[in-house]
Structure formats: C-alpha cells, structure tokens
Amino acid sequence: MGQLTTGERDFGAIILIVLAIIGIAMAAAGRSDVLGIHGAMVLVYCLALLFLLLSGAFGTPPSAARLTRYYDDPIKVGVGLTLFWAIFGMFIGVWAAAQLAWPSLNFDTSWASFGRIRPAHTSGVIFGFGGNALITTSFHVVQRTSRARLADQLSPWFVLLGFNLFCLIAISGYFLGVTQSKEYAEAEWYADIWLVIVWVTYFVLYVRTLARRKEPHIYVANWYYMAFIIVVAILHIVNNLAVPLSFAHAKSYTIWAGVQDSMVQWWYGHNAVAFFLTAGFLAMLYYYLPKRAERPIFSYRLSILSFWGITFFYMWAGSHHLHYTALPHWVQNLGMTFSVMLLVPSWASAGNALLTLNGAWHKVRDDATLRFMMMAAFFYGLSTFEGSFMAIRPVNALSHYTDWTVGHVHAGALGWVAMITFGSLYTLVPAIWKRERMHSAILVEVHFWLALAGTLIYVFAMWNSGIIQGLMWRTYSPDNTLVYSFVDTLLAMYPYYIARAFGGLLFLIGAIVAAYNIWMTVRTPAAATLALDDDSPGDERQISGATPTPAE
C-alpha cells in the first residue's frame, strides 16, 4: 500500500470506518445470532486494515515516477492470498475425504460435521483459491496487454481485500451452521450483498483500465476475464435474490419456488463452472501459455470463435443437472443438446493450446511450468468431453448422484483449474518480483509430479467408485427387487474413499511445496543483472531497478 496518495488513503480510511460502523450495527442487531458474530468479524477486519493504512500515512508521499510503471503491489498480496486459500481449501478437502472413509473424524462436533466442512472446502478452493488467482492474474494480464497502469490505486485493494472479506464471512458461516442450501452459493444474504458491491467495483476498475489502453486491440485473454466478471455478477444476483427473516438474522429464504428454484440454482451452478472455473482460467491459458512457450497462440481466430461458442452455449446447459426431475422435458432436452454442442468450442480451446505447443515439445519436456499448462489443457479437453457425455440423459441415469460426478468435477478442478493456476503462478511470480527464475526448478518438478499423481489417483478412484455405485443401485433380481442394500454400496466404496483421500493429500502436499518455493523466490534478493538466456519467462528481462523507458 506504500504507493497510495494522501487522498486515496483518506478515502480508504472513510470506507473502512463506514464498514466498521456497519460491523458494529450487525453485531448489535444480531447479538448471539451468527449475524452478530459476523458483525464482530467485519469490525476486527476493518480495524486491522485501518491500522495498516494509517501506520504508513506519515511516510514520504509516493513519487510521480510510479505512474510510469505498472501497479503490481495488489498482485503481490494476491499471490500470497491465493496460496493461503489453496492450502486451507485443499486441507479441508482432504479432511472431508477422510471423513467419508473414517466418519469419526468429525470428533462428534457439529462444526466439523461433513455437511459443514464440505461447503467450506468447495468455497475455499473455488472462491478462495480460484477467485484470488483470477483477480490477481487479471490485474497482471490487463495491464500488460493494454500497456496501461491500473486505472487507480485504491479500487484494486478494495476488490482484493473486499473479496477476501466475503470469503472469510462465507466460510466461517458454514462452520457456524449458516447456509442457503444452494450449491456454490451457500453464503447468506449479507455476504451476498457485499460480494455484489465488490464485484461491481471490480467490473468498473477493469473497464476503466481497458479504456486507458494504448494497444488498439483488446487481447483475447481480456475478453475471457470480462465474460467472467460480467456473467458471475448476473448469476450471483439472480440466484441469491432472497428475503431475510429480519435485518437481525442471518437466515433468509429465496424468492424462487419449487422447480423454478432448482432451474435458477443450476443455471447459476453450471455457469459458475463455466464462467468462474473456465472462462477466467482460459484467460490465463491464452496469456501465460504463449508467454511461457514463447510462441504465439496457434490460431487467434479460433480463440475468438471458441470464445463466442463457450459464452453462448454454456448459458443454456444448466438444466442437464435436473434430468428426470419435475423440470419440463423440453428444458432438459435443451440443456442436454447445448451440453453436447459445447464440446466443439471446448475442444477448439484445448486443441488451440496443445497446437501452440507443437514445435516446442522440448520445452514441455524440460520445463515443469510449461508441463503444468500442457497437462491443464489436456485435462480441460478430457473433462469437457466427459461433461458433454454425462449430460446425455441415459448416461446421466447411471452417473447422477454417484461419485462419478465427483470424479468429473475433480478432473476439472485439479487437472485443469489448479494446474493452469500453478503454471501461471510460476510464470507470474518471477516476472512480478523481477527474479530470473523460481527459487528451485526441482521443487516445481516435484510439485508437478505430486499434482499429476494426486489427480490421477483421485479421478480413477472416483470413476471406479461411481460406476460401481451406479451399477449396484440399479441391479435387480429376477423377481424385481433391488439386489444390494445401501450399506452394501458403502462397503464397496470404502477402498476407493481411502485412495481418494490419499490422492487429495498428494495434491495438498504439492500446494505446500509451491507455497514454500514461491516464498523462497520472493525472499531471495534479485540479481543485479539478469542473464538473457532463453530459460527465463518471456517478459521483463530488464536490468533490475532501472526505470523502463516508454516505447513511443
């Protein structure tokens, strides 16, 4: 925050004081309700930030020279937050997986019961890890591809720290027993309202930065980030329309009823996968993969076609989550058809990424960072194929409610989303901190193999478990009774559940290795001059500390 001007500091302090007062009001109105606890948390969070903000207020004012550089301070903090949430979210995930194999691991407490730690895991990895990674990389990519500094210095902090306040309120709420019972949208009304404010600020900041661009064409990665920001705002608002019990209660009721509620929820849920977990991460793919491979994207036109294909088709695919329900048949058919059509733009993107690497396979062999991105593109292709396939109604009859779905989600989340994120972080970190390379290439290598082994063990365990489960549920005896009881299926899944927890543990260890490696990279002082060998990431090969000269 060292570069904030006096005006920005004052405005930041006003925002924090207003929020602290709102926190006090929530605590007073909510009393012993969870709303009251969250009010106290908002107060403490704002006071801590206020302390940080004011403790630097009497230093030397920032020099005007800062405006000739990109604004990277929020990106540095964002990298740290991304890694914190990665480790937290994955740890809770391993714990939840272990509980399925050994149920006594909830220690007979309500806060650690499976129903509460599961949303803490999903929100921790999707919003905490994924969300912070998206915000952080988007600030990097939009500045570099627009050749413009972020539009101002206060709103990036508001977006980043405000989003983390949302994560904190949401996830602590689940442990305390608060939930809207909506998948990936469990957070209650007050957290949802806060996220809308943060998200609109994010959108305005992004558009203002793009408006300042010196590069006439908006690079395709920014299109994906914009789609992510806009669509997530729309989805979030519509799905979370709710009426609270009162302003003093955390509990609310959705305005949607019956099957409409289901449809709105899965329109949200599937597009959360599409625009939160796909569009933004494709943006990373389209920037960091060519940068790292030092090769332009195979076909820029194909990336545009797949952009419009993905944004258009995904919108209509959500109803495939509601096959064989009260949802009208034609709506199910619509979702199924669009899900199958989605394979075309999805594979266009995956193919575009892999073909970009064609001719650079020796780099993929030598560079684990590039291998992360290559594997991510591979798993993206794999899980989008699987997703289209599972959306077909008769296939869904077997897969739905089984662990196959869980396996599919993790092929996407571990294989695609997490791998492209780590590949991007390993490219971003040396660039932002002006280091020649990561602290240890061997640790990147170790992380890669831990991540790959963890993903494969996890996904194969869940495929086996899911298909066995689905088949056992539908096995009838000649006199038309079910052959297996529910407990029989649990016994059959037991070994797979242990394997799954082990796969997840490997992935978690990989994330810890990454955090250590990034920490060491940041701690090691930059060399005075950087060698111009081809092993370093493409950008920012400059004399460290020198002021970059404008090009025109």
Binding site: T145, E215, P216, Y219, I297, L305, F312, G538
Partner: protein, 56 residues
C-alpha cells in the same frame, strides 16, 4: 400479452433458434473479415513485446 408457458416455449424453440443462427453468422463475419486479419495477427505477437511499462 400474458407471459404463459406457451409463450416461453415459442420464444425458446423458434426465436431462440433464429437468435443462435444470427449470432453465429455475426461472429463468423467478424472473425473472418479480411480487414481484421492484420489486427489479429498483431495481437498474437504483441504480448511478446519486452517493454515493461505502460506506454505514454
């Protein structure tokens, strides 16, 4: 006009299809318009520019 289930059905099945077709045609024209070729080829290469600062 009352917003009934039938209205929505017609919208989805008829106008939705035309919307999809029209939209696809617009995207194809934009992507393959010869005058856009230069701009896309430039965009592909531009990210490798080593200059690390905002342009004036």
């Amino acid at each position: 006009m009352a917003l009934t289930h039938e209205t929505l059905l017609e919208g989805a099945k008829l106008w939705g299809l035309f919307y999809l077709m029209g939209f696809s045609i617009c995207v194809l024209i934009y992507t393959f318009l010869p005058s856009n070729r230069e701009r896309f080829e430039r965009a592909e290469r531009e990210i490798f520019d080593e200059d690390d600062g905002p342009w004036k």
